[in-house]
Symmetry: C2
Subunit: 158 residues, 2 copies
DNA sequence: TATGATCGTTCATAGTATGAACAAATTACA
DNA sequence: TGTAATTTGTTCATACTATGAACGATCATA
């Protein structure tokens, strides 16, 4: 019984290191992808992320963008300054409330956002095509399992 | 047959979006963890990563650290300046080659690195304990599958 | 019509990261 | 042995990511 526990402990230790390493590699891959997209689309990644928000909605406020991007409002102001000076977006004052700025994309901005969406769909699609049907389903369900576990552990840590 | 393809197409489309979302959530969790560790250990994350490199080796060069961290040498110089002014590390000139600086940790630095290692082992261990034995094995093998797919897709993109 | 809340901006600050230019040291070779 | 080429780490200019405090303008409300 002691032996049994020890073997299980060894196993768990090995799995722990393996998990740490694989997660690090996956995150690295994702960071590389961000860099790649940044170069490919000629914009800093934070600006690309901001453009993508407008695929779902026509108008957004600074506050709304800050919440969706999970950054401070002042950060959003900067991002929008850059997007606007490059003519990807516009600011107009909300006619119903002069405190609020309604942000929207120019046609140039919308085109960029669409291209980025297509690109991202393509690479995630390719990822799935690297697997067979059975693997696809299993990868997805086990990723979800991992995400759930991560969120549970995060709760324990606060 | 047409129907069949269309249904498969739908399915693939759905899976693509799901994959994108789950990966984004997992990466977000990892970023949160980095922030948490940064606060908990009172050092910028880049400096923590640097400390961790010395768990395997007693001495490292600037060039070696740059390769392991995958950043420019000038970045390493900055990180080391900070670690050294906080007395976590030291620079000595290689007696065999005066161009080379041998970097090592002070006892204070080693202690910090050990604490960080313990913490990371703990949280990855907890992650595994959120699952049963079967799930653990499957999560690991499917993460590896995903990583392999990611690397394959990355190759296609260069 | 005061006052309290909300909204977006400005500013100071810090962290992450690169690449060009450079000085010092070493290696290679003619 | 002396010179050219290479290696090593640093400095500096630049850019990107991000926060939080302070602030002015505007709005809701009492």
């Amino acid at each position: 019984m002691n032996d049994h526990n020890e073997i299980n402990g060894e196993m768990l230790n090995y799995q722990t290191m393996r998990l740490r390493d694989i997660i690090a590699e996956i995150v690295q891959c994702c960071d590389d992808r961000k860099l790649y997209e940044s170069r490919k689309f000629g914009l800093p990644y934070s600006e690309l992320k901001c453009l993508m928000l407008f695929l779902g909605e026509r108008y957004l406020t600074v506050k709304g963008i800050a919440e969706k991007l999970d950054v401070a409002k002042s950060r959003v102001t900067t991002i929008l300054d850059r997007l606007i000076e490059k003519r990807f977006a516009e600011r107009i004052v909300d006619p119903k409330d002069a405190r609020i700025k309604l942000i929207s994309l120019t046609p140039k901005g919308k085109k960029k956002a669409e291209q980025l969406k297509d690109h991202q769909r393509k690479i995630h699609g390719r990822l799935l095509l690297e697997m067979n049907n059975e693997e696809r389903k299993n990868v997805l369900s086990h990723l979800e399992l991992l995400r759930t576990a991560m969120e549970a552990v995060k709760e324990q840590m606060v």
